[in-house]
């Protein structure tokens, strides 16, 4: 349509005015689309940003492709490794545990000490120097410290700290603060979540630490960069053979490196979230769009007739209504994209607390916007297609007659004796619902979808609570866990037991192993426990303690699945410490584990198999609450201790992390859930109001009060909300069951815990949202023009 000199055609002006007239409904659709798009832009953008940052970081700082830890190998082995087929570069280094004494910490803080050669140009696992300067190889007392740890304790370059290694105390000067691709996610072994304050990474020169670890002229870990196209698995097998004489613990690829694994799984989780959530929002948007545009075309039948009578072609009329859709879709995409950017920045900020990159910028490329636009457009078009087609199909003559009134006829739903006691206003509600079951079903489903988001989030909370409860109250009931630098004799148990205030000591032995079953291999560890553990227990799916006895092995379900080894299967276990025996043991049990893929054996059986006297690698302690401070003090003086963790601290830390990360996400999802619920309820009620304002006005004229008139309309909505509650509950449970499965990894299992309070909470959210939307519509009812009832319909 060309109107010379005017920017907007007459039809476009009509479009804008019509949009303004239905602004509330349009806004509801826009917001629901926007929520879906925002989530998509946030999760996809965050995923891409993390991926890109990770890729660039790994590449620039040459993150190792393969790790090969050993007990002790002479330095010249490096050249043998470098000569292997498929290796482009290899270095050796020393790594080990230490304890950092900090005046403000009640217990020593665990540290991982890593040797680093500052003179190597572009080394494997290079270091990003964030602050201060590189260590001077000529000065043996200089170290670099992981920046987040330093920041958590207010340490800066120039400060000095004491580190205890094998009982000997060393004084170091911090020359700089650093980050490394190896420690993007720095988490001590056995911990649930990363806590910057409780785990330190220390870099020092070989010379500075070789004596401390008794590794003069030797290394205990090799890092490899592989050549393009190299066969990693072949190389790993080759390394294991080559390094076996040096006490190889088992080489592994980057994919199994702890920090990288957490990062990769985080990416997978983001992907899953986006993939599952976005369609829910867009599905609801399709439905809302459908009811809004269908209604619009219905009310404009006469206008469509006039346009066509005046010679507008069908496609022009169709295009006019399609423009509605485009404007709404565009607005949804723009608002969603903006919201997504904002959310992305918020989430990126949270990520940076736990994932230590030199920089992490949330970047949503134009591509994400294009996708947002396409997705939004598709959802809107899908919702509107039927209505637009009906506008095209209307013949001018038919279009100018009002649509036939709703045809209620005898013998269809809600009549008979049972119905006799129901008042007439309620009958109107039931008959309406029965008359348009499809629309009622869609509305119910839309509200159900909104509720399912809240249900899912509550189940998520329940799962976390359950994990916390099981881990800290049922499985691990100790106060303190101490780990030793290397396995100690039974005597350590007595020594620990003699500390004033320690009331119970329970030994544990953890040994690195390679599990083999048929052709499947899996690196892992065996946790050897006393037969009837009290402080650290193994539980079955009913949370009942499992007795670990006999010569067999008990596997966690995840490990049993990985190895395809059910109870009764004979598996091979290659121990990677002591005399490195190879054992064939039967699987005697499968238990549930929330964290990791543990395997259990009785401690005396393991030691028997190892042909060693009773040796332990750590111990769980119970301490008198009043004497804890002195217990910690005593522990600090134990030379063999590699780490001390306080369960109380771990619990608090876990809670803190959950509050900040998933907590924020839950908050966002709750807001989105409200947006959908309000959007659906408002739209349904608003359209119901427009369609029936004549009936409602008639009721008012006949002497019905505002509340009674409101009851007829909102009672219908309330009924639909009530129908939606079970749907939302089931839907939420199903989505959560799927998500929990999809988000569970080898690192941790997310349980599906059904608890009614989760449903109650979600129902509350939906009811509140529905009440707010209904209250808004009640306002329209209160303002009804009664005189209009006397006039002709529509």
């Amino acid at each position: 349509m060309n109107v010379s000199g005017h920017m907007l055609s007459t039809l476009d002006k009509k479009l804008l005015r019509d949009l303004w007239r239905i602004k509330g409904q349009a806004l509801a659709v826009i917001l629901v689309i926007a929520a879906g798009i925002a989530l998509q832009v946030m999760s996809h953008g965050m995923m891409r940003s993390l991926e890109e940052t990770m890729r660039a970081y790994y590449e620039r700082y040459r993150f190792a492709d393969i790790y090969a830890p050993v007990k002790r190998a002479p330095a010249h082995v490096v050249s043998e490794i470098q000569a292997l087929d498929g290796v482009s570069d290899a270095i050796g280094r020393i790594t080990g545990g230490g304890l950092i004494e900090l005046p403000e910490a009640e217990t020593p803080v665990s540290a991982k000490i890593v040797s680093f050669d500052p003179d190597t140009f572009s080394p494997i696992n290079g270091i990003y120097l964030a602050e201060g300067r590189m260590i001077d190889p000529t000065r043996r007392n200089e170290i670099l410290l992981l920046r987040p740890f330093a920041e958590a304790h207010g340490l800066s370059p120039g400060d000095e700290i004491s580190i205890t290694v094998y009982g000997a105390r060393y004084r170091f000067k911090i020359s700089g603060l650093a980050l490394s691709p190896e420690f993007v996610y720095a988490i001590p072994p056995g911990a649930f979540v990363s806590d910057p304050a409780s785990y330190a990474i220390v870099w020092a020169s070989n010379e500075a630490i070789e004596a401390a670890f008794d590794l003069d002229g030797a290394f205990n870990e090799f890092l490899l960069a592989t050549a393009r196209g190299a066969n990693s698995q072949a190389l790993i097998d080759e390394l294991d053979r080559l390094l076996a004489p040096y006490g190889a613990i088992g080489a592994f690829s980057r994919a199994d490196q702890t920090s990288n694994r957490y990062l990769v799984e985080e990416l997978a989780q983001l992907n899953t979230m986006g993939r599952v959530m976005t369609p829910i929002f867009l599905g609801v948007a399709v439905f809302l769009m459908n009811i809004v545009i269908t209604r619009l075309v219905e009310t404009e039948r006469d206008q469509i007739g006039i346009m066509k009578a005046f010679g507008y072609a069908n496609h022009e009329v169709g295009a006019h209504y399609l423009k509605f859709v485009i404007v709404i879709a565009l607005a949804g995409a723009v608002v969603g994209w903006g919201g997504g950017l904002w959310l992305g920045k918020l989430i990126a900020g949270i990520y940076q607390t736990y994932f230590h990159f030199p920089f992490l910028v949330f970047v949503a490329e134009f591509g994400t916007f294009a996708i947002a636009l396409a997705v939004s457009g598709a959802a809107a078009a899908l919702g509107a297609i039927a209505a637009v087609r009906s506008a095209i199909a209307l013949s001018p003559a038919v279009a100018m007659r009002p649509p036939a009134p709703p045809k209620f006829a005898r013998g269809r739903g809600f009549s008979g004796r049972i119905f006799n006691s129901v008042d007439q206003l309620s009958r109107m509600i039931f008959r309406r619902l029965a008359h348009q079951p499809f629309r009622a079903a869609l509305t119910t489903f839309g509200i159900g979808a909104a509720m399912s988001l809240s249900v899912m989030m509550r189940f998520n909370v329940n799962a976390t609570d359950y994990m916390l409860d099981v881990s800290f109250n049922i499985v691990d009931r100790s106060d303190i866990f101490v780990s030793f630098i290397e396995p100690l004799s039974q005597e350590a148990v007595f020594e620990l037991g003699h500390i004033e205030g320690v009331t119970l000591v329970e030994p544990v032995r953890s040994s690195p192993v390679l599990f083999l079953n048929k052709r499947i291999t899996q690196l892992g560890a065996i946790t050897a426990l006393s037969e009837q553990p009290v402080l650290n227990r193994v539980v079955d799916e009913n949370l009942l303690p499992v007795t670990i006895r006999g010569e067999g092995i008990v596997l966690s379900r995840q490990l049993a699945d990985l190895l395809a080894a059910p109870v009764g299967e004979m598996i091979r276990v290659e121990l990677r410490d002591g005399r490195r025996p190879v054992l064939d043991v039967p699987v005697v049990g499968v238990v549930e584990a929330l964290v990791g893929t543990p395997a259990y054996m009785p401690i005396d059986a393991l030691n028997r198999r190892l042909k060693e006297p009773l040796r332990i690698s750590g111990a769980y302690l119970k301490a008198d609450p009043l004497k804890r401070a002195s217990v910690y003090r005593e522990l600090k003086s134990f030379p063999e201790i590699a780490g001390v963790s306080l369960q109380r601290e771990a619990y608090k830390n876990f809670e803190k992390v959950i509050d900040e990360g998933p907590g924020t996400f839950r908050y966002i999802m709750t807001v989105f859930s409200i947006v959908i619920a309000v959007g659906v309820v408002y739209n349904s009620a608003r359209i119901g109001f427009i369609e029936r304002s004549h009936d409602l006005a008639s009721l008012r004229v006949m002497g019905f009060t505002k509340t009674e008139a409101g009851y007829v309309l909102l009672g219908e909505i309330i009924a639909l909300v009530i129908f939606a509650l079970p749907i939302g509950s089931v839907l939420g449970f199903l989505i959560w069951s799927y998500l929990a499965g999809a988000l569970s990894t080898e690192l941790y299992q997310i349980p599906v815990i059904y608890r009614e309070d989760g449903l109650g909470y979600a129902a509350m959210i939906v009811l509140l949202a529905a009440t707010a939307a209904s209250a808004y519509i009640q306002r329209d009812i209160n303002r009804l023009d009664l005189v209009s009832a006397l006039k002709t319909k529509e």
């Binding site: 709703p406 008959r431 009832a789």
Partner: protein, 250 residues
């Protein structure tokens, strides 16, 4: 407001009726300034209780506006209107709702039946909120529609729908019955049956009945005919003899 039955609740017992409605200087203006439309320009009126009154006049002459104000669904811009001595023009919205609920029956031009309720249920709808209603079946019997009690509006003809609407309006035993163009959407023959029903009800139930119509012939069945023009009452004619609805046509 409570009960609106002021002094003078006596049914029409032969002696001079005190007015059920009384207005003084009633005006109604829509809009303002140059765009102002004066729908009523000072209406002085008294309607005795129990009469059947027909309001005649061209479109826009103000008869609907007057009916709406007396029916408690619209507000006057000036002047006063009284129902049995109670000032309608001073009532709050809640009081007006109670007034309609208790005393007023409405018959609309387009019937305004609830499409999702059967004929009987449409009648019961109003009976449910009335203190002393008649049985829905009895109300339908009065309009000779008892056989169609279980039909939905979509299954009834226009004349039948309007008779259901009348049954609905009278089921509460209203003090006054307002009918805005009750025959406007009907053909002449059907219109007569509707008017007949209204006339019978006025005589049997004694409800003061106000009928707006375009059809001048309808005036013959009234006790009193009020002619409207240009927002004012032009003339009030009292019929010494009322014609039967079945004798008129238009």
């Amino acid at each position: 407001m409570g009960e609106l039955n002021g002094p003078g609740t006596a049914r029409n017992g032969g002696q001079e009726q005190r007015p059920i409605f009384q207005t003084t200087g009633l005006t109604k203006t829509y809009g303002s300034g140059a765009a102002a439309v004066h729908a009523l320009r000072g209406v002085e009126l008294e309607i005795p209780e129990g009469e059947l009154v027909v309001l005649l006049g061209p479109s826009g002459s103000g008869k609907s506006t007057l009916l709406n104000i007396l029916g408690g669904i619209d507000r006057a811009s000036g002047g006063e209107a009284y129902f049995k001595g109670n000032e309608l023009t001073a009532m709050k919205e809640r009081a007006l709702t109670a007034y309609r609920r208790r005393h007023v029956g409405f018959v609309f031009q387009f019937y305004n039946l609830m499409p999702s309720l059967t004929a009987a249920e449409n009648v019961e709808l109003v009976a449910e909120i009335a203190p002393d209603p008649m049985q829905a079946f009895d109300a339908l019997k009065l309009v000779e529609l008892e056989a169609r009690a279980d039909h939905f509006p979509a299954e009834l003809s226009g004349g039948e729908q309007q008779r259901v609407a009348i049954a609905r309006a009278i089921a509460k035993k209203p003090t006054v019955l307002f009918c805005d163009e009750p025959t406007g959407a009907l053909d002449s023959e059907t219109g007569v049956t509707v008017l007949k029903a209204l006339q019978t009800l006025n005589e049997e139930l004694g409800a003061t009945t106000l009928i707006i119509t375009h059809a001048a012939a309808t005036g013959a069945i009234a006790d009193r005919v009020i002619h409207f023009a240009d927002g004012r009452i032009r003339e009030v004619v009292k019929n010494a003899v009322k014609a039967s609805a079945s004798d008129i046509s238009w």
